[in-house]
Amino acid sequence: MSDTKAASSPTASARQLARIWANLPGWGSLAAVNHGTIGLRFMVTGMVFFLIGGVLAMLIRTQLALPEQDIVSAETYGQLFTMHGSVMMFLFAIPVLEGLAIYLIPKMIGARDLVFPRISALGYYCYLFGGMIIMSSLLLGIAPDSGWFMYTPLSSSEFSPGPGSDFWLLGITFVEISAMAAGIELTVSILCSRAKGMTLSRMPLFCWYILVMALMIVFGFPPLILASILLELERAAGMPFFIVAAGGDPLLWQHLFWLFGHPEVYIIFLPAAGIVSTLIPVFSGRPIVGYRWIVIAVILTGFISFGLWVHHMFTVGIPQLAQAFFSVASMLVAIPTAIQVFAWLATLWRGKVVFRLPMLWVSGFLVVFVCGGLTGVMLALVPFNWQVHDTHFVVAHMHYVLVGGMFFPLIAGLYYWLPLASGRMPSPVIGRWGFWLTFGGFNLTFLLMHLTGLLGMPRRVYTYETGLGWDMLNLLSSIGGFIMAIGVALVLLDLLLHFWFGQRASANPWQADTLEWALDMPPAQYNFASLPTVNSRHPLWEDPQLAERIAAGQEGLAEANSGLRETYGTSAITAQRERILQLPGNSWLPLYSAMALAVVCISLLSRWYELALLTVVLTIGLLLRWSWENGGHPSAAPLDPLNSVDSLNKSTENKLPLESRTVDGPGRWGMIITLLANGALYMSLLFGWFYLWTAAPQWSAPDNGPLPLWLLLLCGVPASIALWLFQRLCQRLILGDAQQLQRQLWLSASLGLLHFLMLLVLFMMAPLDYTESAHDAVLMVILLYLLGHAGLATVLTALQALRVARGYVSASLPYEPQVVKPLWFYYLAVYWISVALFFMLPLGWGAT
């Protein structure tokens, strides 16, 4: 039951909420940050990129339909398959699923928005601009052509001297900002803003899947970000990380890429499986069988998928024991997948299944994905893997897993949630035609491709001789590809036409159990007129009046007296309301920041480094300006203490503080999750360092380190004292003691600055031959990494001191230093580990 009284006038409250949550009109909508708007933009943009990727696929199939064709040249063909893979993986699959999650998660967990709305908007613009930059290379005829995995040395400047690889490296890294933003934001939102009573054991399965996917993004993307940075540094500045003669190793790229690349498959699969786990119970009319086992399977997948990457590299000459090790791990990942498949089948078996349109796509998923999973187990076996490596068999397997495991559930999900977003139902006739053509065309294309591969046809060849036994199979695959394209076109047509011609949907048209179906269709920008309390896993099945109570303002936070966007902050474990989160409204800062980053990207592509440097400074300025309007800033949270409690709860003891009046909250969680991602990047660099040491054929290290050890140790002293001071002032703030707060912050910042300057001097005096030696190039990167973090910690501490002077941080506003504190801890840990592993340990290696 709700613990709040009904709002005096639900209509007036709804009008007030609508005004507060509205996007700006006209061009002003570019400043929108609301999760509904951003989620839809992600999905629509993703579908546009999907169409482009699909056209590229059709060009590939046209070229391969008959032997010895020269419709496109070998060079163009290289660009086509590279861009097809890159677009589908980076610009379609991940963003469209992120968009779906961004759109749905707050609605499912009973919140009004994600906890960092401006980050959502920044992520979208980074994705949009990054995607446009990558696509522009195709229009200019200078697209990358080394494959979507960009193996070195093929993608290095020696063999790819044009700008194609640079477009990929810079563009994809730009797009990855968006993925990381979504990963961090979704994690924190799910953990910190669920409806009251929605404990982890009552959370919708879709949210479990998204939580694990988001954490996988946090840990999985940094290796690729690092690899892209290193390769771009090699190409632009000559730092030889992947060049054998200078002590590098091209296999390092493969390791870093697949450290990302294999989890990436599950990052794509898990949200799609989450859709399946949501839809099957609804259309079976019963709760899912084995909720706990599915949670176990999802967590299991999240971990094990990070231990499989080497199975992409079985042919590169890895010791047998290591191969067996990864082969076993690759087979183990079938276990959690099987758990889910059996749970879905058991639910279908025990339910009364209604085969509406979304279920058709779910059925298609089950067939196609299970087939793809089985060929995956085959590929985990080393001898078989060697036989079919780099053949069309692998291409067929990959498409069975990705199209079956992602595209089919995605379309099922789109059909399922379409009435929620538009208020209208799709056409069952067009939809069924679309499904059967897609399903038939897909299997004709890719089932036969297994045979083409077993007959020895390699991947990435732009044509083939006749008489090798591949002719008919390729022709049929191409015909299947075009049938599939017609099916997809029908689906997209149906999705488009239903906005005008679809029947009006009734409330909760599928009789679903989750909270999003308690909303209006289409939902208001603020989602819930009042924020619900949840007492079961199936709130709408077990409390049919919940939707009415929400709409009538009888649940929590029905009024918005502060005039700001508000939602509840809840405890991560027990989902108890702990604070009120006042969320930022429309803002141009995300767009401006993304535009500045786009200029950085373009200026790096054109090797105009002065402009790049200028825009980096501009971007930092914009981001700091953004950070200024946070926490206790008047535009972010009113300073009037009367507004610091839930207006509806004033008469009770249950008064909730604003986030800025507490010492914990989403901001702090966001910092910690960001640092986990940062830590994954650092660990990847550490891996690269040890990998080059142990595996690079011509690795060499000087007898003496490039920097005096005692100076490095001395340099760490002021930073350690700064952390101690910062930690102490945070503890005092928690106890309500703000005496000399500003002075302590300035002192801490000064020590940070001293450390930064000492490190800078060390960096300047280090005799690093970074263009001739991979060893020195890695040291150069680690020193730059440390400098960047030391500078950031110092600047943020100085800003805290300024904010104390403005009254944004005080004994009653103790929150912000608690957010900055983990950065200091992280930096100090990384500094001392780096000194130990990058500078002390090598002294024991001797010259090798």
Partner: protein
Amino acid sequence: MNNVRNNKEMIQPTWFAPAHPAQIVMGFVIWSIWFIAMYGGLSVVCQLAPPDVEQGPLTWLNGGLLTFALLVIALLLFLAWRSGRYCASRHKASEEAVGFERFVGYVSTVLYLIAAVATLAGTLPVLVLPPCN
């Protein structure tokens, strides 16, 4: 009020206690550390002091890897037993108060057990394959 009190009780345990949700991921965090140590250790030792290829799988390195894995498996089984015992004790309590705790206990127990099995499966190749060949 009862709910509030019970929820407060749920927050009390430290991350190491069987009631804490951190236990849900702890099994595979341990597995991950074992995985990194095993693969990383193998690579480093093969670089610095590779055992004689003629010895086949019966090398000090394989013996070390096996011993390490058995210790990890023992730890995981102990933690699974502890979580299982906790879960069973929660079964005796009422549904309303301990549904979440039971969930944590059950999921943790299964994940600890699977982590132990995954560790064992990953270790088996050391019985038949030479380490650095």
